[in-house]
């Protein structure tokens, strides 16, 4: 039996203006149970405003905002969420355990302290004063505070800023574990690799509207390009004239060819130059897709 996808939070036609600036311009966004959604967009695209509306920190000028079917300012709705904000200075004279116990006290059925500490990987920090921790450790404590209430929906705003690669991978593992338990996650991030590694669904915002909404796979396939790189003596200008080749350039002794038909072009390259070596074929990643989508948008608005 298939369970219908349950919507747990939504923005419908949400408009938010700050003076003359329109931060959200009729945004529609649905969050589904158990889903990890990455919210991407250039600075000023409206990501933070969208999250602030869902958290009840600001009110929409128009449109509807719903969190578990209620107004986000209703405390009963917020008892089902966990929050990690981009910047929050926590009381430095409290210990990590005291900070966690305080946050746990806000929730009806929180995790135990050892469980929370284990999930966030901060078991060794519990007795330490918060002010004495490194930036990366403080972020992990903030993450622990976000998950300690056993939330059904977790908001993570740029969670891995200031973390080294090892800490970042550990946090990703913890996020996956939480999603596997059925918790939905909304993630904003500047690291596209982070969205690529974690997200089931990616929503790209620009100028307060949704530009693209779909799976990581679907987003990537909007950019059908692949990039072929190899060492070869072939003339780049001549290859650029081949059918289905978008561009071909020579860079630092390597030939770089962009195409939508990688297989056919590779075959022809190998035929043309038997001495060709160090062949690489790269699919366009999320970064290329993201750049492509936001560029399309800005060129459209300029034309309009």
């Amino acid at each position: 039996m298939e369970q219908p996808v349950a919507t747990i939070a939504s923005l419908a036609g949400a408009v938010k203006r700050y003076g003359a600036l329109t931060a959200l311009d009729g945004l529609d966004l649905m969050l589904h149970r158990g889903e990890l959604l990455a919210l991407l967009g250039p600075n000023g695209a409206g990501k933070s405003t969208a999250i602030n509306l869902l958290l009840g920190l600001v009110r929409a000028d128009a449109g509807r905002v719903s969190l578990f079917g209620k107004d986000p300012q209703d405390i009963d709705a917020r008892r089902r969420i966990g929050v990690m904000l981009q910047s929050a200075v926590l009381p430095g004279t409290l210990s990590v355990a005291e900070l966690l116990r305080l946050t746990m006290s806000y929730y009806p059925a929180p995790r135990t302290l050892p469980e929370t500490a284990e999930m966030a990987g901060i078991g060794d920090l519990l007795a330490r004063r918060y002010a004495g921790l490194s930036g990366g450790q403080q972020r992990r404590v903030q993450f622990a505070m976000a998950l300690c209430g056993r939330p059904e929906l977790l908001f993570l705003d740029e969670p891995t800023v200031g973390m080294d690669i090892d800490a970042r991978r550990k946090l990703w593992a913890a996020i996956r574990q939480i999603v596997a338990e059925g918790c939905a996650v909304v993630l904003t991030t500047h690291y596209l690799e982070e969205a690529e590694a974690l997200a089931q669904r990616v929503v790209v915002l620009a100028k307060g509207r949704v530009l693209s909404d779909g799976s990581v796979h679907a987003l990537r396939s909007r950019v059908a390009q692949s990039r072929i790189r190899c060492v070869s003596d072939l003339d780049a200008a001549a290859i650029a004239a081949w059918p289905r080749v978008t561009s071909a350039i020579r860079e630092e002794g390597r030939l770089e060819v962009c195409t939508e038909a990688a297989e056919a072009v590779v075959r022809r390259l190998l035929d043309a130059d038997p001495a060709l070596s160090e062949l690489e074929v790269l699919r366009a990643g999320l970064a290329e897709a993201f750049t492509e989508i936001t560029r399309e948008e800005s060129s459209q608005t300029e034309a309009a």
């Binding site: 920190l57 929050v83 409290l94 006290s105 908001f155």
Partner: protein
Amino acid sequence: MMEAVQQTAMPEASRRMPASRVIGAYWTEMRSECIRYLRAPGFMLPVMLFPTMFYLLFGIVMNRANGPDALRYLLASYGVFGVMSPGLFGFGVSLAAERDNGLLTLKRALPMPPGAYLLGKMLMAMLAAAVVIMLLLAMAVGLGHVPVSGGQAFLLLVTGMLGVLPFCALGMFVGTLVKGQGAPGVLNLVYLPMSFLSGLWVPLSMLPSALQKLAPIWPSSHLHAVALRAIGLGQDPIGTHLLVLAGIGVLFGVLAARRLRRVG
């Protein structure tokens, strides 16, 4: 996918917050707020040192010759002076800082029960006020040999702990107007002139008569009258003073709460 299905089926009732846990949340918040400041010497030391040093110097050392009644009078004056600072600074400086550094935003996003944040700060200010009054009482009795009865000491303590509240409201109002680093300066501009103008440093009778007439504007002059009465000086009825103090507390409290809700 089992977990997701189970969670969907989870009954609404099990997510409801039992009253005992709501009370627990208030309690934990108040406890954290107190511990947090008691461990911060940058806050506690000035709050305790200024009134006690002043009382020692200008009271016990310089005014001993004028007899125990002078020291009794100054106990009330420096008591009020000492009680104002945890109210004004404890509330104002921390609120201004926390509006700036994201802590208040996080607390508003978390399901913290309404008002727990402010209640915590209020309790912290009351505790700090109690510590100041007890230190001053110990000095007055121990070093100044002022005869203070148990009842008088108790009344002065209650006056200090409740008297801090209008200054909490005033500090909170300033904290909602100023953000971040600017708050201590603005609060000192309120604190020091107000202390002087309401006769906490120099008795009112020695100030120019124009300033004497202005004194009832300042909340600290009303608290001073109540504190003098508590310690056994003065026969004037204190009903009006209490009403003014309560009114100031409610007025600034409501103004600040409204601003806090609107602009955060």
